[in-house]
Amino acid sequence: MAGIPIKIRGLEKRFAANRVLRGVDLDIPAGKVTVLMGANGAGKSTLVKIICGLYAADAGQVELNGKPFAPTTPSEALQAGIVTVHQNINDGVVPDLDVASNLMLDWLANPKSAPVLNPRKIRRSAEEIAAKLGLNFDMNMMVSDLTLADRQLVAIARAMAHEPKLMILDEPTSSLSASEAERLFALVDKLREGGVAILYISHRMSDIRRVADRIVSMRDGTIVGQYETEPLDYEGAVNDMLGHTMTDVDITVQKPGEKVLELENVQLKPESKPINLNVHRNEVIAITGLVGVGKTQLTEVLFGQTAAAGGTVRLKGESYTPKSARDAINQGVFLCAKDRGTNGVVQDFDINRNITLPFLSSLSTLGFVRRRAEYRITNEAISKLGIVCQSANDDIGTLSGGNQQKVMVGRWLSHPSDVLILDEPFQGVDIAARRDIGTKLRETAKDRATIVLVAELDEALEIADRILVMAEFTIVGEHKNENVDVDLILEQVSGAAAPQDLQEQKEGAAR
């Protein structure tokens, strides 16, 4: 099998006012691994969902082996030979059934199958499926007893029983260890030799280097770069995906004040390289890097959700090991968490209650909340950040995404802190709200240290005094935000540059 089984032309999709796909043209050739890169919100998952029948496109078409193809349900796509392995491994398997039943799940679910089970026959068919991929499972084992990697392989083996023409792997290694991932790659190699077209979605540069035959970068709903000649231009692809265009926000780098937070040889994972970092008052630092390089783990260590694997953290010169969010807040470290829908917003509450939630003990007498005091704080936050609303009693759900995010940022700005950490504060926020939030963060940064974690380089450039780059759970680069060498940052983000002598850079930054 060769050729180009999937041809996508002019694909468009919008959700309400939001144009998610703006004319996507993409060929996915057989026998090759096409890696699809793109930041959050670039439209990768929407594209995949159209191909596998979850969404219908608004315009444009998909051709499968030369014929127009517009599946209306996932099972229709599956019948046509489009197989998807999802990021969440447990979506692909039934943990409480044994391996044989999992491999035969599609047969079991098919209403045309025989009503009475013949266990021996099922086992034999399951073994055939596994053997095709050279996998050797104990068929009687419960899937819940398998490792994540083995579950993933079971899901893929099951998918392969359909003799797929296109296999979509959506961040398949995100919960696997390096050696487990290697087993997956071996399987991907096998599929490639078998002539299957593979669309591989990933943020992990090490994976991409291992499997990619071609790289396609996506940004803002279009394909912005395609790389297929050896050697592949990985930095070019990352550059396309992050779409760096010199930002028009002008940063006047502030002189850092006294040292507030000090990380000494902190390890996020037992095997990861140590992090050394000093953060000062009157300083905004941005930590950038791809998804899954340890940015969120770093916030968890600083906000008391997990303990560091090694090293020490000092806050204002004293040892700092928070046991919980409460503990961190009491010591003056605030975190505005990412994914506000799950981690920040209390959906049943109005704006006022969302803003004052962490500070209720200082706003109440004998346990009774002082209404006047809390509304003063809320109204202050509303006017300070320009939150568009009728009143402080509007339900948070009635606000736009940008305004909800302003409420979250306003919450943590409403009380003074020593260290304010914001994890992806511009997620799902329009450009105007992003500017408002950025300006407000810089205006108020004087008396605290501010750490902003962002995947997009542009966002780092328009907010930070200092930009740190993370890769593989450690810091690999440090740049003062003046005449930044963007190419060097991109190299460090994509893991191309060997971690540089940070000491040297630090001196450079201090100059």
Binding site: F303, S324, A325, R326, A328, I329, N330, L335, A337, T342, N343, G344, V345, V346, Q347, D348, F349, R353, L357, P358, L360, S361, L363, S364, G367, F368, V369, R411
Partner: protein, 339 residues
């Protein structure tokens, strides 16, 4: 654009129905019974209704606290009957005073709540299963000391002797005394308890930071935790409130009955859970709330009293209660989810 406007208009009508539908129904019922049933509209009838719902209402307020933190407590009925048996045992068999009996029951309720909370928060047992298990455990436990017999003054003990203690008059007063209120001997103690507890829980949930935080936990536990809320502590507190209020209900029941009757209190669990769930529909709250729970309990009481006075047979009562509950749940979920 025009479509949204049409939608908005019909929504506001639905909103109106959600908000006042249940209260309107309640008022309608009262008016209907006042006209149709002789003697329904009298202070004695009103007090009777209050008295009939006092104990379930108190239990329901406890369940409300657990519902607020997105939990559930199925053990309240068993806690109440355990308190009933325990108070009788302490006074009749152990010959202690009313005060000792009351304190023992309250401690028992708090302890059961603590264990429930521990099972749910620390052992990660799902709330329904943990409290169901606790329910069975307590139903069994309360029978062991007396080898399955009811406790009454002068009962014979397993060792052949006769129990020397008795229900003290102070304790019985909790169930039988009536305060003067315009009319002599009108308001029973249990009704006063209900009113005080309802107001207390309402203030606690609506106006204190503890209540606020509990609602935050119920809506988005993760967000609450990242805002610095000690989620586990509050969940345990919610179950302890539930346990203590259930034991208060049990004490009042014991004081009314004047004996530790093994078979009483069978309906407590279902009635009080129904009251708390009906409360979701009151004023379109669509969430557990103390005011709604109290109104929900009253609603059931009024309906049953009215039907009884109109000579509806007693065996239709559970059917009526079930019907009310189903309609109220429909109100809450179908209508309010459209918002």
């Amino acid at each position: 654009m025009s479509e949204t406007r049409v939608n908005k208009k019909s929504m506001s009508l639905t909103d109106y129905a959600i908000r006042y539908g249940f209260v309107a129904l309640l008022v309608g019922l009262v008016v209907y019974f006042s006209v149709a049933a002789d003697g329904f509209a009298s202070p004695y009838s009103a007090v009777f209704i209050f008295q009939s719902v006092a104990i379930t209402g108190i239990l329901a307020l406890g369940v409300t606290a657990t519902l607020v933190v997105d939990g559930f407590d199925l053990s309240i009925g068993a806690v109440a009957t355990s308190a009933l048996m325990l108070s009788a045992y302490v006074m009749v068999v152990m010959e202690q005073s009313a005060l000792v009996a009351v304190v023992a029951c309250l401690l028992m309720g708090a302890l059961v709540g603590l264990i429930n909370g521990f099972l749910i928060v620390q052992m990660r047992v799902p709330d329904l299963l943990a409290t169901l298990g606790m329910m069975f455990l307590l139903i069994g436990l309360q029978r062991i000391p007396t080898e399955g017999r009811s406790i009454a003054t002068g009962m014979s003990l397993p060792d052949g002797s006769t129990a020397a203690g008795s229900f003290s008059p102070e304790f019985l007063a909790l169930g039988r005394h009536r305060f003067d209120f315009f009319i002599d001997n009108l308001i029973p103690v249990s009704v006063v308890f209900l009113i005080v507890i309802a107001i207390g829980i309402w203030l606690f949930l609506e106006y204190t930071r503890y209540g606020r935080v509990m609602y935050a936990i119920g809506s988005n536990q993760r967000a609450a935790s990242l805002a610095g809320v000690p989620v586990k502590k509050y969940k345990i507190i919610a179950y302890m409130i539930s346990g203590v209020l259930a034991s208060v209900g049990g004490i009042l029941l014991a004081a009314r009955l004047g004996r530790g009757d093994i078979a009483s209190g069978n309906n407590l669990l279902l009635d009080s859970v129904a009251a708390a769930l009906i409360g979701f529909a009151v004023l379109g709250a669509a969430k557990p709330n103390a005011f709604g729970t109290a109104v929900g309990a009253l609603f059931v009481g009024i309906l049953l009293q009215g039907l009884t006075m109109m000579n509806a047979p007693y065996y239709t009562q559970d059917f009526v209660k079930g019907g009310v509950l189903v309609v109220a749940l429909m109100f809450t979920f179908a209508l309010s989810n459209r918002r």
